[in-house]
Symmetry: C2
């Protein structure tokens, strides 16, 4: 079992939630960034899940292993923090699907594997749009919610460096489990704005407005976004984590000790 899969980190800039009883139809509309910093997933004999050497339980990963009838231990590595808006659980689910398909010779297509991982994330309640964004790569725009058979994607045709700083965690489950009506109204407006003018600058502006209208900003996030703006840069908040991300060198220019990486053009893939 030497095969591996790589799945990029995915930062959502804004979104609207679209629950559905059918997990392949449930999902989100929105837009974001995929990062060359991501998650590498391998399988070993055994069971359980190990991330950066620590034992972990991620329901979406268990569901993917079950769907692929794959009895294996998942061994993953990442530079990204968990629970901070980088889609690590989605990356683990999709990476597990891609590598289990190879190791166990399940002969499924990319769409089928994305559907399994997306459905697993939705059923676990840990994400609504990371998996389809991570599969596409680049700057993915989710025009219609759901797995490939139901959803529709577009992308912003650009290539830029991204910087990010994480202050702490926010629980996706808490936010998505609560009343998402106001949030989704703001998310739909943000998507209309981006579809009319699909550029990264518009995405960032729409993201900042979404964060304010959905009342998601913590004081630290507000301060960092303002600092970047005052330094002439373009930053917003990762949905959902206490994380700021910026185009180019926006955070370093404002004096922050930020991680920097390229956008991930290929999206998730086997290695």
């Amino acid at each position: 079992m030497t095969d591996a899969a790589f799945v990029p980190g995915h930062v959502t800039a804004f979104f609207s939630a679209h629950p559905d009883d059918d997990p392949t139809k449930a999902g989100s509309r929105g837009a974001g960034v995929t990062l060359a910093d991501g998650v590498t997933v391998r399988l070993e004999a055994g069971d359980g899940l190990e991330l950066n050497g620590e034992e972990l339980e991620i329901e979406a990963v268990d569901r993917v292993l079950g769907a692929l009838r794959a009895n294996a231990r998942v061994v993953a590595e990442t530079d990204l923090p968990l629970g901070s808006g980088f889609g690590v659980s989605g990356a683990l689910a999709l990476g597990t699907a891609l590598v289990a398909n190879r190791v166990f010779d399940r002969q499924l297509s990319e769409n089928e594997l994305v559907t399994i991982a997306h459905g697993a994330e939705v059923q676990a309640g840990t994400g609504l749009g990371d998996v389809v964004g991570q599969a596409r790569g680049g700057f993915p725009v989710r025009l219609e919610p759901g797995a490939p058979a139901h959803g529709a994607m577009d992308g912003i045709p650009d290539r830029r460096q991204i910087e990010y700083v994480t202050f702490g965690e926010l629980s996706t489950e808490d936010v998505l489990g609560g009343d998402t009506e106001e949030l989704s109204a703001a998310g739909k407006q943000a998507l209309s704005q981006l579809v009319a003018e699909p550029t990264l600058e518009t995405m960032m502006a729409a993201s900042r407005r979404f964060a304010r209208e959905a009342d998601l900003l913590t004081p630290r996030l507000e301060e960092a976004i303002r600092d970047v703006s005052e330094a002439g840069g373009d930053a917003s908040m990762a949905m959902l984590g206490e994380t700021v991300f910026a185009l180019d060198t926006g955070l370093s220019d404002a004096g922050y000790d930020a991680e920097r990486c390229e956008v991930c053009l290929p999206g998730a893939h086997v290695r």
Copy 2:
């Protein structure tokens, strides 16, 4: 004007033709391979199109420039031969769309640019499925014909080296301009086979059968495919060119002096 776009070469393994009066609905079903060998496109002041230093006229490129109201000279470079089944005209059209969108700040999305390039190729009669495959990257499967709003894509989740040898040209226009009924029946059967078992080995077997049933093989192609098979490899014919492509080192193993490259995971992108 220093921006550039890269578009991978695209080899179609099999296809069925789906004409339509609406060029965004017209297209093909089928599957193929995108290559890390591709076309780099830049714009300069002036007009006309230059490929590897030679003046050229490609109707699809003129149509893209017109659609984007882009007055510029297109300067392109490629290692791939023209008219040999690598989708060079589609790559020129899509690369022109991507780079003109940046240089002239047209603020169009990836889907919009793919739609313009696909429509231009269809209207010029020079291709039906290269552009959407080149945009996706990897091993693209065209489940439904047409530009993104109408078409549907999948992919084979693999990563392999590809080899190819070109003996000469075949005219896409001659084949697509003639009676395509038998060819399309064979293409539909090949796609059913691949959808049931989406692996590269199945794609190659389906491609060989398609080439025989659609009566497209020249003696040189037949010989090379047989040679690779006898050496234990997996080869077929590029649709449409007098070109043989093989998985891994299939052609070298059979004694051919072949070009070798990686699959292009990112698909077309700005640089």
